[in-house]
Symmetry: C2
Subunit: 179 residues, 2 copies
């Protein structure tokens, strides 16, 4: 899976401009995918050249002009090819988990701070996923519901362990202060 496949998938459902694609990625996709403008805009230009999408310039008042891209038949074919291709393993790069693993080498203050930040972030992610779930529960496809539920349940499980972990670390701090 590359950014091209993701963009094609989005355009399968509705024609969009690069800016809109970024917005969508930031909201719904942020839990499992991300791409910057520096990826999206050059990729859209490349895809247009290859005939996977067509560009339409929309002149807006009070706002910059938009380039709305629409998927072509060739683009649809390419997307179907992606769906038929081999499923790729998940790629994760978690600074937080790496630090936790090496946590024995860090001060307890640092560890507490990392845990607190992870709790904050996970809480916010959970909130946003639950919002999405509430809004889309009856409208969206079965697989999108599974997708959002996966995020929600993962966040909940994560929060449980994170909170217990933070308590454990703080308990260790308490013991030390007594001595």
């Amino acid at each position: 899976m590359t950014s091209q496949d993701v963009i094609l998938g989005i355009l399968m459902n509705q024609s969009s401009a690069g800016y809109d694609i970024k917005r969508l990625l930031e909201t719904v996709f942020s839990y499992f995918y991300n791409a910057s403008f520096g990826t999206i805009y050059p990729m859209l230009a490349k895809m247009e050249q290859q005939g996977l999408i067509t560009k339409e310039s929309i002149i807006q008042e009070g706002k910059p002009n938009k380039h709305v891209y629409t998927i072509t038949e060739e683009g649809r074919r390419q997307f179907r090819e992606y769906l038929n291709s081999e499923l790729q393993p998940e790629e994760i790069k978690s600074d937080f988990m790496v630090r936790l693993y090496f946590g024995g080498l860090a001060d307890r203050e640092h560890v507490s701070e990392w845990l607190s930040k992870a709790i904050d972030k996970t809480t916010r992610t959970l909130q946003s996923l639950e919002d999405i779930y509430g809004r889309l529960k009856d409208k969206k496809s079965a697989t999108q519901i599974i997708c959002v539920r996966l995020g929600i349940e993962s966040c909940k499980a994560r929060l449980k362990v994170l909170n217990e972990g933070l308590n454990d670390i703080k308990a260790l701090d308490g013991e030390l202060e007594k001595e």
Copy 2:
């Protein structure tokens, strides 16, 4: 966090060769980090040049020779600097979740296959994390236990939703066959 930080962290605990580092990453780290030989070997060479680590050649019989690297004081300083640096957000790239999101555009057979594969993989990951947990529960630091428990509970939550999801999809298939 770059591969350099991870390698330094590993070498903080024990001197290792590139091959051993890869092995370790594949087992314990695989849930939240990964690096290929093409990253590890050039990085070790670069780090030696910069004086962060020292190389010792071990001549082995019946096996190829090994280059065992040991962290220097400068390397330790550099690693502490990493622990003091700003926590970086998690990076995830999940082909599986992307496909699920676009699942409405795919055949139900494909979706079932993806879910089954995800269930298999998660089950195996859970198994390996529980093995690690069993072995290290009493030996390792509090933060490493949190780290492994995060993986275990995430996998369990994931499995629950995946199994429910697969049943839902199969139920839809059943309905269709009746018609």
